[in-house]
């Protein structure tokens, strides 16, 4: 009987080969507990030492280094920005100075040219006046000569007419008459 019972039990446990059918399910199998607990503790201790001895100091220092690098980069960028702003201001000032200077030079040049122009205009006016006076004189001379010639011609013509008409030529009277008529 004893032997039979053992055989049946052995067959039950071995023959199933399916723990879900007989006995406790694997998740509540007390036979597993010591093994699982032992290896879980080993794994946790291993992870803890990996983290505290190697990983965490390293990652912590990397993160701190990065933070330091970022903040120093940021302050360097801030300094560069200030520099750039100063440079911009200096450039603006240089540009406005140059503009004022160029305005000044342009004004000066303009004034000089104006002065030269005025002188040249005055000279030209003087020359023109001199020429005009000369011309007027020449015209007056020519007019006077023409006047004289007209009187001469008129006297000659009057004498000739008198002579042709057989009259007595009174030189003085002719001259007076012609002068009165011609106004020469």
């Amino acid at each position: 009987m004893e032997h039979d019972a053992n055989a049946v039990e052995a067959e039950l446990t071995h023959g199933t080969a399916v723990p879900s059918g007989e006995g406790p399910i694997p998740l509540l199998q007390p036979a597993y507990f010591d093994n699982l607990i032992f290896w879980a503790v080993v794994a946790l201790v291993a992870i803890y030492f990996i983290l505290t001895k190697m990983a965490l100091p390293r990652i912590g220092s990397t993160l701190a280094t990065r933070e330091g690098t970022i903040s120093s980069d940021l302050s360097a960028a801030e300094a560069l920005r200030t520099q750039a702003r100063d440079a911009q201001a200096a450039y603006d000032k240089a540009v406005s100075d140059a503009r004022a200077e160029s305005n000044r030079i342009a004004q000066q040049t303009r004034d000089e040219i104006q002065a030269q122009l005025d002188t040249a205009l005055a000279q030209a006016d003087a020359q023109i006046e001199a020429r005009a006076a000369q011309g007027a004189r020449a015209v007056a001379e020519i007019q006077a000569q023409a006047q004289a010639s007209v009187a001469e011609v008129a006297r000659d013509a009057a004498r000739e007419i008198l002579r042709v008409m057989g009259g007595q030529v009174d030189e003085a009277a002719v001259d007076r008459a012609v002068a009165a008529r011609v106004g020469g």
Binding site: T13, H14, T16, A17, V18, P19, S20, E22, G23, I25, P26, L27, L28, Q29, A31, Y32, F33, D34, N35, L36, I37, F38, W39, A40, V41, V42, A43, L44, A46, I47, Y48, I50, L51, T52, M54, A55, L56, R58, I59, G60, S61, T62, L63, T65, R66, T69
Partner: protein, 254 residues
């Protein structure tokens, strides 16, 4: 690992066989009773989790680059994530317990995710493993609470804000809830993981019937997707609850 589909007649479901321990080097079976030091599939997959953590947190960070590589970035992301969680939930003076909490988080995260590989073994599906975590946290937090605060730690159960006649009743309720913590803490994790893995196997069992096998495979894929979420979320939940319990030990007066 028993393959259910080999049995010729009818539907056979053995969704729980995946949780059985098997020795790494021969033997085993339904009545396998390993000594505590035996190398089992549980040993293998927990060792692989440790190896994965080592690769991610030690090997990938060895360059200490200011501009991180991809894996280094992942390690730093996890570090900062848990660091922030500890600071936010447990307080800034909890920083010295950060390695412990990160250990818990990484152990759960890696065993959960490695357990999702086909043919693998999920250590966190076993209540024995999660009880180590849950009761470990419970004992640690309780001892720490008494060491730091002495008798004032009992103020956690004695609500001075409540009317006097209610205080004993609240104290009883608080006491019960305090002692239920490690149980719920460990069963929540093991239950979630075990349930998902079992449902996947049940769907896989239905794939034995040709007519419904497409739906069964779809079901397996869908549950697998949910399991990926569960693997991360349960690690997160376990960790943040640990931080909450730690906060009680550090500041029992609320």
């Amino acid at each position: 690992m028993e393959e259910t589909a080999h049995e010729a007649v009818g539907l056979t479901f053995h969704p729980l066989d995946q949780f059985a321990l098997t020795p790494l080097f021969g033997g085993g079976g339904a009545d396998y009773n390993p000594p505590f030091y035996a190398l089992t599939n549980a040993t293998l997959w927990m060792a692989l989790a440790v190896l994965g953590i080592f690769l991610l947190f030690v090997v990938s960070t060895r360059s200490r680059s200011v501009i991180p590589t991809r894996s280094q970035s992942v390690a730093e992301l996890v570090y900062s994530f848990i660091r922030k969680m500890v600071d936010d939930v447990a307080g800034h003076d909890a920083g010295r317990f950060f390695p412990l909490i990160l250990t818990l988080f990484l152990f759960i995260l890696f065993t959960n995710f490695f357990g999702l590989l086909p043919m693998s073994f999920t250590a966190t599906s076993h209540i024995a493993v999660t009880a180590v975590l849950g009761f470990g946290v419970f004992l640690f937090v309780t001892v720490l609470g008494f060491m730091l605060n002495g008798k004032k730690f009992l103020g956690l159960f004695w609500m001075t804000d409540a009317p006097l006649f209610l205080r004993p009743i609240i104290a009883v309720i608080e006491l019960i809830s305090y002692f239920v913590r490690p149980v719920s803490h460990s069963i929540r994790l093991a239950g979630n993981v075990m349930a998902g893995h079992t449902v996947i196997k049940v769907f896989a069992g239905f794939a034995q019937v040709a007519a419904i096998s497409p739906f069964a495979i779809l079901g397996v894929a869908a549950i697998y997707g949910i399991e990926i979420l569960v693997a991360g979320i349960q690690a997160y939940v376990f960790t943040i609850l640990t931080c909450v319990y730690l906060k009680d030990a550090l500041h029992p007066g609320h």
